[in-house]
């Protein structure tokens, strides 16, 4: 990705990294769809899971819907306005908000996110699945802890930074705030999150 000066003096963002992918999606190419899944499926899922308090099934639905929406509306993607990743995250964020509005989920670990340990029978790769599940629940509890001390927008900005390492400009595009506002939100979010994360660090 690089920044170039546009004809009218505006700074445009050339999203070189995903130009091929975007072209393929515009042509309805099946290989491009597979590449989209490969490159962004897990990232969107992780992002959605964090926003949806660890509800894996719902996060998967959001991820699938986001990828489908992106493929359908690829004609509306404008590389001069946003990078492909920022555009895609914007769609994911909208999907998550729709879900949250529908279900009015609270910032806590919902029952759906709690892994029923007794249902985990098979251990395909030899690891202790029960231990895995406990570790995941603990981590989900920590995410919920952090979410509790942050405002919704601070939480979103922190996740976008940590999960996908989007730049402040890209995050600004996703959440509809200026780059400077993102820096300020991020600073506050880190300060607030530090206390919660530190207790685990000691």
């Amino acid at each position: 990705m690089s920044e170039v000066e546009g004809a009218e003096g505006r700074v445009c963002v050339a999203d070189d990294d995903h130009a091929g992918l975007v072209d393929g999606l515009r042509k309805g190419d099946a290989a491009a769809c597979a590449a989209l899944c490969e490159q962004f499926g897990r990232r969107i899922h992780r992002l959605a899971a964090a926003w949806l308090s660890g509800d894996g099934q719902l996060a998967e639905d959001v991820m699938v819907q986001t990828l489908a929406d992106a493929a359908r509306n690829i004609a509306h993607f404008n590389a001069k306005k946003a990078t492909f990743a920022a555009w895609l995250h914007g769609i994911a964020r909208r999907q998550v908000r729709l879900e949250l509005r529908k279900q009015r989920r609270l910032k806590a670990v919902p029952p759906a996110a709690q892994v029923p340990i007794d249902s985990v029978a098979g251990v395909p790769d030899g690891r202790d699945m029960a231990e895995d599940a406990v570790e995941r629940m603990n981590a989900q509890g920590q995410v919920a802890d952090v979410a509790q001390v942050l405002s919704q927008i601070e939480f979103e900005v922190l996740i976008l930074t940590c999960v996908d390492q989007l730049s402040a400009r890209e995050i600004g595009r996703v959440v509809g705030r200026s780059e400077r506002a993102i820096h300020s939100l991020l600073h506050r979010a880190r300060q607030k999150a530090r206390g919660r994360l530190m207790s685990d660090e000691r």
Binding site: A30, C33, G41, R42, V64, A68, R94, R101, R180, R194
Partner: protein
């Protein structure tokens, strides 16, 4: 833990917290993508024919507005009409970070305003300001809590005047853009378009559209004869496109404000916190001084048992600067030293309303710990940003009142009532 470590640690936690993806998610996603192939351009002739047909049908039915010329000055007429109105009642819908709400609002020229947010017909949040002995009440049904705070008096030059806030229906939009610009955010230019439209159903109406860069925009419909705003929509750029954040779709001018909406009756189970800090403090003046851009007033000093100072201050732009935009959330910095040599440290916690501030100065060690300070010299920096950054006022040898018995005077001004 530095910023990078926070990011790294949080990324680790998020990774651990990620639930496993179900088997076959890729097939599911590919199937969904295949089912929603990219929208392709259809035959242009067919598209045009369909569009013309639909347009003709809708025009015939009166749904599609016809351009009916310019409406220059519509915005100013709307502002003038709002300023003359005595009361207004509005209904609409808001999309906020906390969810989607219906809202209703009553406003009157004496500064009274009640704003209710509803979901499924039940009140979720109430904000009341103004009215008798001006105060602000906020109720949050989700948390079962309400706060009821007295307000300091308004003086010309301070924000948030107790006049009919209907002016703010659209002016607020300009205010925020100007604010962002003043703070150096790249909002782009604010553009406004005024035009008249005509439909079979509603006759002529003026349409005002405002857009600031590609961050936010608004659209208002105005009744051409009276200048009354009929509807208003606000949009914010969410990255993927314009998201509607506010829609005002019913507005009635000159209504009688019902008595039962003037106060808030908390439902059983609500915890109400009443804060009465400003009353009896904000209307007094101990000292006042000006810088090139600001007038700073020290209204009151309270001293707690340990000798910490609770100051009540206010900040006002100078006469030349009135009407310009500034960040009302930027705190006033205060340095202080007393006649026993003790230096005071300003605490982070502070309260503010209408640019009146309450701030706490914690007394540091003095060379003579037993000495009881009688006088303090304050240096106040009203606005530590931009051209005003280094401007300050000094109040020398201000006499301290007697110490009060409590430790946390802010808490003592609060009363918690369980309903």
């Amino acid at each position: 833990m530095n910023a990078d470590r926070v990011d790294e640690k949080f990324a680790e936690v998020l990774e651990k917290a990620q639930p496993p993806l179900g088997g076959g998610w890729q097939e599911r996603a590919l199937k969904a993508m295949a089912a929603s192939a990219p929208r392709r351009a259809r035959s242009r002739v067919r598209l045009v024919a369909v569009a013309v047909g639909v347009l003709a049908a809708l025009s015939g039915l009166g749904f599609v507005p016809f351009p009916a010329g310019s409406a220059k000055g519509a915005w100013n007429r709307a502002l003038a009409a709002a300023a003359q109105a005595t009361t207004v009642y509005m209904r609409g819908r808001e999309w906020t970070d906390r969810g989607e709400f219906d809202f209703q609002e009553w406003l009157s020229e004496d500064g009274f305003c009640r704003h209710e947010r509803l979901q499924g017909g039940s009140i979720k949040e109430v904000t009341i300001r103004g009215g008798e002995g001006e105060r602000r009440v906020r109720y949050d049904a989700e948390r079962g809590r309400a706060t009821d705070v007295d307000m300091p008096p308004w003086r010309p030059g301070l924000p948030d005047p107790p006049v009919l806030p209907t002016k703010d229906l659209m002016l607020g939009l300009f205010k925020s853009f100007q604010f962002f610009k003043a703070e150096g955010f790249p909002v782009g230019d604010v553009k406004m378009a005024e035009r008249r439209e005509w439909t079979l159903w509603s006759g002529a109406r003026d349409v005002v559209e405002v857009q600031a860069g590609d961050l936010a925009r608004a659209r208002a419909e105005i009744e051409p004869d009276s200048g009354h705003i009929l509807s208003l929509e606000r949009f914010r750029n969410e990255g993927w496109g314009w998201a509607l954040t506010y829609r005002l779709d019913y507005i009635e001018w000159g209504v009688e404000i019902p008595e039962n909406v003037k106060d808030f009756d908390p439902p059983p189970g609500t915890t109400v916190t009443r804060v009465r800090w400003w009353t009896g403090r904000a209307d007094k003046v101990i000292a006042t001084a000006t810088t090139a851009d600001w007038e700073v007033t020290l209204h009151a000093i309270d001293v707690n048992r340990r000798g910490d100072l609770y100051l009540t201050l206010s900040r006002m732009p100078s006469a030349e600067k009135r009407g310009s935009w500034y960040n009302g959330g930027l705190a006033i910095k205060v340095d202080a030293v007393d006649d026993s040599g003790a230096v005071y440290k300003q605490q982070n916690g502070y309260g503010c309303a209408r640019d009146y501030w309450s701030t706490i100065l914690e007394r540091g060690a003095s060379s003579n710990p037993d000495a009881i300070p009688r006088r303090v010299t304050f240096t106040m920096y009203p606005y530590r940003r931009g051209l005003s950054k280094d401007q300050s006022v000094t109040f020398r040898d201000v006499r301290l009142p007697a110490r009060q018995s409590g430790d946390d005077l802010g808490r003592e001004a609060r009363e918690v009532v369980q309903y």
